[in-house]
Symmetry: C2
Subunit: 280 residues, 2 copies
């Protein structure tokens, strides 16, 4: 039986679509053949009435105890929220993701436009393309990056592009481009406008195949906050030492991590062990 009735968080009743939950479980890194078993076990742990929210929570709980590395991948989106409250760690995280995609990156650059100089979150170069990247971090919730964001990011890019056209830099042959990256969604207007003016807009699920989620998956560029041992307190220390992604932890030994950060060796070891387990 693949369809039961579940109650969505909106209160709406709908047929429970096992395929949807299964996709989500596979997405979390559980092998296809084990996905159904995970769902069965999660279902057995909850009492009726079954709601989508309850079911997801049960799946998460099961993965947390039975399959820690899947669980870690399951909660990437929340881990990005945990990079807050300011937008700065997200900028550095986006830089790491783009670096993993083969870009040369620089964070927090002042770039002279024709009218004024602009603080550009990330300047990312690959081949002849030189992207001026604006990162828009939203806190948990349903905030989308709206049309005003797309408009101001594009206007900023236009000012830079005009300065570039008039400058000697033009001889470098680089083609300046605009990019806007957000950890949530875009309004439909923002997407329409971005496509029309040629602003590359990357959101959590947009565009298909090249979304932030997909870029993270392809590069396995998980944020350090995806590790259970990295809490609000020690994330700041890690960021200060340019440890933004789980991959960054692979380059350092527990002893050196402890020396650099002041964490005790046991804590450093735990963090590094978790970092390795994510790729198992």
């Amino acid at each position: 039986m693949n369809h039961w009735e579940v109650i969505k968080s909106s209160g709406q009743r709908e047929g429970y679509d096992r395929a949807k939950i299964r996709n989500s479980v596979i997405h979390a890194g559980v092998p296809l053949k084990e996905a159904d078993e995970v769902i069965e076990k999660a279902l057995r742990s909850i009492s009726p009435p079954i709601t989508t929210k309850k079911l997801f929570r049960a799946v998460k709980k099961y993965l947390r105890t039975e399959s820690p590395q899947s669980n870690i991948r399951y909660r990437i989106k929340d881990a990005i929220y945990a990079l807050g409250p300011t937008g700065y760690p997200f900028e550095r995280y986006v830089a790491k993701i783009l670096e993993q995609q083969g870009y040369k990156v620089k964070v927090g650059q002042m770039v002279q436009g024709r009218c004024i100089s602009h603080e550009v979150d990330v300047v990312a170069t690959k081949g002849r393309h030189c992207y001026m990247v604006e990162c828009k971090f939203h806190h948990k919730g349903k905030t989308r990056s709206n049309i005003r964001t797309a408009l101001y990011v594009h206007a900023r890019f236009l000012d830079i592009k005009r300065a570039y056209a008039e400058s000697e830099m033009r001889k470098s042959g680089l083609i300046p481009k605009g990019m806007l990256v957000t950890n949530t969604r875009f309004s439909s207007e923002a997407i329409k406008y971005s496509e029309c003016v040629g602003l590359k807009a990357i959101g959590w699920k947009h565009p298909v195949g090249e979304s932030l989620e997909k870029l993270i998956e392809h590069g396995k560029t998980y944020p350090v906050t995806a590790l259970p041992s990295v809490n609000r307190k020690n994330v700041g220390v890690l960021l200060k030492h340019d440890i933004v992604t789980v991959k960054d932890l692979e380059k350092i030994s527990a002893v050196n991590l402890s020396k650099a950060t002041g964490f005790d060796v046991r804590e450093s070891l735990r963090i590094i062990k978790q970092a390795y387990s994510i790729y198992e």
Copy 2:
């Protein structure tokens, strides 16, 4: 003796500059020859230590009892804040101000751009110039309209301008222009950028001679909220009947105001009397 020591709101001590206070009093509509008398009387009513804030408050209090029409003009800026909490009444107020300056105005227009359609707060036409006006209302406080606002307003204008260049409308001979009006201040970057791209930026004190404050003074286009009898409750009713400025009240009798709004005749009469007294 023209210089005493006063304590500014910042806590800083400074020589009390009578010329400054005098300007402010004249500004409020008190004739030059009476200004010194007003200040003397206000000073006598406060006990040391004298602070700028106390002095201004005493002047206001004096004007409120002795010269109600001056007092009304004294508090235009606060009256604009009272148009809040949403920005919509401010848009309509800006439309009235521009109308008084000889513009033909339309509020809340959807205008097709090249990429998307935009909601333009006010479309204001005078001669061949057709301004796309964005109104930025800030609540009381020190919020400025910043560079991001100037950027998105200009990008919006550019999209409209491009559609216009490609359209049949071009034959009308109208020249589309961008305008940004705010009730507070602009950041220096926003001013620099606006001047560079040709976006007309009007703030409370900017540009000199053509600032929002000056436009209101020249046109005597005071908001209805400048009248002591117009409170948060009845301002909504007045706005609903397109009564946004004190001038709008001159076109209506107390009886008709009462019929239209449901205010009792006595209240309507009081409001209209206050409206007339402002120009005495």
